[in-house]
């Protein structure tokens, strides 16, 4: 039956209304989890605050399991949702550049909006940088075009690639994630307390 809007169960005219509402909840959750503070975010790389890892991984696990249950119950087939296509080189390059951006800037786009709106000036600068970065990419697009489209694997999913059922993968992911939480909490407890 789902997803509701593409299947025409909800009129597409509601699309933007839902966008607004979902965004509202998204922003609220991010901000109240502490994602509006770059020092809190960067803590994940220096061992003093793993909130990013915890929130992020928990969200991935919950949603992944939810999607698999939806699929199992037949409410929404996994094949009916948008699966980000994999362009191998492009995504790896992008990931590495974003890693640099994260360490330098201390934000990612979504969190920088949260920071900017509650008055973090560094987050506002980050957003400006974001704009410039995308502008840079778009102007130089002819140069990047080739690599951007190289090694297209299509909308491939991990379990297809490894060849195990999605549920097993999800379960393994779950176990690894939960163990990671335990470990990082230990590290966190031992790390030097940083005031911010």
């Amino acid at each position: 039956m789902g997803p509701l809007i593409p299947q025409g169960i909800i009129d597409p005219a509601w699309n933007n209304v839902f966008a607004l509402l979902i965004g509202l909840a998204f922003g609220f959750i991010l901000e109240s989890s502490g994602f509006s503070s770059s020092r809190k975010l960067a803590g994940v790389f220096y061992g003093y605050d793993f909130v990013v890892l915890k929130v992020f991984m928990t969200a991935v696990m919950v949603c992944m399991i939810g999607l698999l249950y939806f699929d199992y119950m037949g409410w929404m087939k996994l094949s009916s949702i948008y699966i980000l296509p994999t362009f191998l080189y492009s995504v790896i390059i992008g990931g590495v550049i974003m890693g640099f951006g994260f360490i330098l800037g201390g934000y990612c786009p979504g969190t920088s909006f949260c920071g900017a709106v509650i008055g973090k000036i560094d987050a506002m600068f980050f957003t400006v940088g974001l704009y410039l970065g995308i502008l840079f990419f778009s102007v130089l697009y002819p140069v990047f075009e080739k690599i951007y489209h190289a090694a297209n694997l299509g909308p491939v999913q991990v379990h297809d690639l490894i060849g195990i059922p999605a549920a097993w993968f999800a379960f393994a992911f779950l176990v690894v994630g939960l163990i990671a939480f335990f470990v990082v909490s230990k590290i966190e407890a031992r790390a030097k307390k940083i005031e911010y």
Binding site: I81, Y82, G154
Partner: protein
């Protein structure tokens, strides 16, 4: 805040437990992939002919159990010796399933039959896919068996009862009636190279 967290997580937990308990989905699972089962029905001999069935019924050592998939009324009118009646619609009923499992675990070969061959096709494929591997079908069903058994040792064959045998030479029949075989424009289907369908174009990219 911490209390709220606890309360919400607990509620979630309860909800999940409830979801967990209620659907009550059965434990049935496919033990063979569709490709495997197809390969099997194409290559392996899973049918036993009425002649063989007669021999099996007459033989002493019991390694085979016949399952009559027909309606109990028909079953009582006549069935193979020692056949067990499990109407095909009730195959999934717990006690029938258990009975079949027991037969299977005892090492018996299960032979399914219906009135005609068709009635056993679905149950056969279904059981075969869900874990029964010593499973056969009585070719042509009860009708074919009955006719063969009644004919004793005669050499009579009943082509109209053999499944999937064409009863007509269709082309010849058409021709005889005035239409040439050329009338039939056959579309030779070109296997299309599967285009990986762009997953619903209306849903556009994330970021």
């Amino acid at each position: 805040m911490k209390n709220t967290a606890k309360i919400i997580l607990t509620l979630l937990f309860v909800l999940i437990v409830l979801v967990f308990l209620f659907p009550g989905r059965d434990q049935l699972r496919y033990s063979l992939s569709a490709e495997e089962i197809l390969q099997e029905i194409m290559e392996e001999d899973y049918e036993i002919s009425p002649r063989e069935a007669v021999e099996v019924v007459d033989s002493e050592n019991k390694t085979t159990v016949f399952i009559d998939l027909r309606d109990p009324v028909l079953y009582h009118k006549g069935h193979l010796d020692q056949a067990v009646n499990i109407p095909s619609g009730k195959l999934l009923d717990r006690h029938f399933m258990k009975m079949l499992r027991n037969f299977h675990d005892e090492g018996l070969t299960i032979v399914l039959y219906g009135q005609d061959h068709r009635e056993a096709v679905g149950p056969f494929l279904f059981l075969r896919q869900t874990g029964f591997h010593r499973l056969k079908v009585l070719k042509g069903g009860y009708d074919y068996f009955n006719r063969t058994a009644a004919s004793g040792n005669g050499v009579e064959e009943f082509p109209e009862l053999v499944p999937e045998e064409p009863r007509y030479d269709f082309a010849a029949l058409i021709e005889e009636m005035g239409g040439g075989p050329g009338e039939f424009q056959q579309v030779v289907a070109q296997p299309v190279i599967p285009v990986r369908r762009e997953k619903t174009t209306t849903i556009q990219g994330g970021c």
